[in-house]
Symmetry: D2
Subunit: 305 residues, 4 copies
Amino acid sequence: MDYKIRTDLALEVRESFPEDDVEIKGVILTEDIDEENKIRISTVEIKDEAGAQAMGKPIGTYITIEAPDLDNSSEDYHKPVSDLISENLRKLTGKLNRDDVLVVGLGNREVTPDALGPQVVDNLFVTRHLIREYGEEFRQRNQLGSVSAISPGVMGQTGMESLEIIKGVIQETNPKLIIVIDALASRSVSRLNTTVQIADTGISPGSGVGNNRKALNQESLGVKVIAIGVPTVVDAATIVADTLTKYMESTGFGQEDIFKFISEVNTRQVYNMFVTPKNIDESVKKISYTISEALNSCFSGLVLS
Amino acid sequence: MDYKIRTDLALEVRESFPEDDVEIKGVILTEDIDEENKIRISTVEIKDEAGAQAMGKPIGTYITIEAPDLDNSSEDYHKPVSDLISENLRKLTGKLNRDDVLVVGLGNREVTPDALGPQVVDNLFVTRHLIREYGEEFRQRNQLGSVSAISPGVMGQTGMESLEIIKGVIQETNPKLIIVIDALASRSVSRLNTTVQIADTGISPGSGVGNNRKALNQESLGVKVIAIGVPTVVDAATIVADTLTKYMESTGFGQEDIFKFISEVNTRQVYNMFVTPKNIDESVKKISYTISEALNSCFSGLVLS
Amino acid sequence: MDYKIRTDLALEVRESFPEDDVEIKGVILTEDIDEENKIRISTVEIKDEAGAQAMGKPIGTYITIEAPDLDNSSEDYHKPVSDLISENLRKLTGKLNRDDVLVVGLGNREVTPDALGPQVVDNLFVTRHLIREYGEEFRQRNQLGSVSAISPGVMGQTGMESLEIIKGVIQETNPKLIIVIDALASRSVSRLNTTVQIADTGISPGSGVGNNRKALNQESLGVKVIAIGVPTVVDAATIVADTLTKYMESTGFGQEDIFKFISEVNTRQVYNMFVTPKNIDESVKKISYTISEALNSCFSGLVLS
Amino acid sequence: MDYKIRTDLALEVRESFPEDDVEIKGVILTEDIDEENKIRISTVEIKDEAGAQAMGKPIGTYITIEAPDLDNSSEDYHKPVSDLISENLRKLTGKLNRDDVLVVGLGNREVTPDALGPQVVDNLFVTRHLIREYGEEFRQRNQLGSVSAISPGVMGQTGMESLEIIKGVIQETNPKLIIVIDALASRSVSRLNTTVQIADTGISPGSGVGNNRKALNQESLGVKVIAIGVPTVVDAATIVADTLTKYMESTGFGQEDIFKFISEVNTRQVYNMFVTPKNIDESVKKISYTISEALNSCFSGLVLS
């Protein structure tokens, strides 16, 4: 195994640069605080190839909503978070949000931290079939977007790449916008189930719990792709490496020695492991509901009282 | 609602003709008995348009395996039934069974009697991704068929027709044979969860628990489609009509009066209802496992001891 | 099988008396209409043994909330229904509602129409362990009731009567009030998933989808038992009998002939069948959520915005 | 957090002693190899208080079956493992195995690695209710044991300790033997989902994924308790500590320094995390089936072909 810190959050990649307050060429970081609800909204814009190279992520905009109370709060709290997701989604979708949208819930519904995508789809209010049955007039009157949704499963269940399934579905149903929901890996335990990343770049290989899937983006799918992700796991190798690095640095070792040692201790076995909290079932249930509400309000046009 | 007896079993359509031992033009019925296991295998062949018209089903071969002990038997019993399914599948697939196969599990996994298809897919041994990873030599050595599988969900969950999803997946992955698994409606309560129909005609509209889906067959999909179905429900309107007919005939009414009356009593509400046994969870679990084993042995080439 | 119309709703028993506007001795029926939300609240009070005999139900109060739009309405509608359940629950619990409550979700979570009880328990906010950990002061400050909950499963899964499991749990944990949630059988298809019955009599044998369980009431459990039930199925034999009766009466037959005939046509097989709507998954999910909210607000003291 | 290596396997505690081949007073380790199936059976007997103290585990017998191929093998392999579980169970149950047995599936069915217990119970063939219905003669003729089963859920779902629920059930149903199934934590990643521990000591506090439950043993329950456990997780703090220790030892630090440092780096957050493999769903499904088969054959008397 190559030694590599794994995170799917652009914000954490940005934070990993030692020169924290120094500008990285081609990367703009802005920040907004919702004081009342203790929510921080950070936007990482990767503007050019230099920025993409430095960050190891494609050019695009990555909005991160951090709501530290999300995991243990009561249901009251999910409304402002859900509203913020909607609002930021709209920034990235532009005018597309009342158009034909396909929501894709990636991941394995049988593995709790990977079930985020399928659970969001389960709570979604799909409308495409209603519009096809009752017509355009019905759509206008109710100001509905046309929402369809699929949970394609994982390769071990289907024998197919998610990319293949979704490409096929797009060819047949012609959505104008794809929203991909996925469970992510973060570097920091404290971000698990409290952070939502919205990116207009789609999904890159190596993201999430099931980490060898192919890219799902405008290039591979031919349609604009917005990804919504929530970190639900930390890579086991990453947690070990982070702790060791902290220690070895404190005892005066150089980067090279540290990398070499970590590559040795992180065996192949640890590589296929992830770290997840004990209350992961409740956390995934709550946050998938929050995201579904945001999507319902943003795309279906369903207004809940 | 039109008054119409609903069954998805060709055998039951054939039985509904009063002239039971009379030949129907264009329809051949043959029968085989496995005495030891008390299993009856009936084959209805619809040879031409006249037969199709008479039967209200497309031209093709419908094999029905009736295993009355299947529902309450121990696990020992599932092996001979599974073997019979394999054997009869091979009759209909011809040489295709070691080729590239896509198994489609129709139905709604949240509604127990409609979960047959998804449950079969859950137990399947898919191999397509392994073959793509390890190559043709690996396939030859292990004599594997290439099996992929999908449970497309139902329109209320996805906003899309199953047909659209499957067509798209076929375009991307090019299987040579489609196996569609679906929960059916039978006319007779005693056939529920004890009968398997295998047909080389695919799925016609109006089948199963979710009965307004479009046809899935060679014409609509461009690939040979074999359907495997198990009756798990009886249409509520059918059970009412059957009982009333029995009674009214016994009191001397003519067909026309009977039809007229039944059309009145079967309200719109009954039309969206189905009848299912109380132990449906156990029954569906067992028979979906039996079918998965048949598919694994027939297509993946997986031999279980 | 004995011919017997099966309903678990006291209101339907009351309606089955031909002399609809005549007083039945020992039974008082009152009615309330919430015009705005089109909800009807009926109260059947069985005052004495004569009434109990006439009704075939134990002495007690049965409140029925009929909300015909509940099944296909949006989420806005669940709030007034949930509030009405809370309000009527409080009438029957008296001062007990902030005391130690055990909620029991009867039924089989693997059979969709029988999963109501377990799904209500899944959505419940339990507090007993928090109060035991953080103490009485914490309870007072947050005005929490002490809520515990269990889904005991069904006899085919556990080998035990629900009564045995619940009695044991009561002995160990000493709740002052039991709330039992159960899926019921109604006579009328139109009441499925739109009606909630709250009764201070507990559960009688023969109720629900799994209909041979023992009584769960103050007598058998030693604690006050309030039952909340929603009809999710109609007995298949009942639907057949109702239709036949309607027909035979119209052709001039007497009750005795009708009973005799129906006993013949309703075979043993139909006896173990139930009728349920095709969208039962969505209906049960919605109404179980509505009931959970009512219980959370009534017992845990959880106030949702 | 106290720094403490967490493992629920007596074998791993024994291995943690540096003097590996030296006798520990009061502890006997024996070993058996099934060459054909590459299975190792180790027995740790803790004979007295001295041994219990040294091991940090109660006096009793701990049998560990290690089947390294269990996780990725085909179904053929589960039979010999299942037979070994049965055989070793019988050693610990003595003559009780055809008596009245209650199987308890601990854990949270919503969290994949903690779902082992509930999934074993789901696959179990329970017989107690059949014996009560059909009588002792039926039991003798079929040589059935009386098996009942319950999955009590976890405290966050029920508000009750598992101990309270089980004690209550025992009082009402009087089983003579309790079998408790639980997901365990191991120290070694390579033992996950490939190892089964059978112990006649019951369950101690601090075991499993949900690690603050009370002891379930003869003392607390009044009946003999045998525990069957499978490690499905590694404690995140343990994996970090193990790696650090390895490193610090290699650079010449003493135990005390190591402990001190690890206590610092393992923050509170890591303490509530566990490490689990990505294919945990498949692994838990397979091994829970293997254990159910062993229990069915050992207790119900169900013989599968």
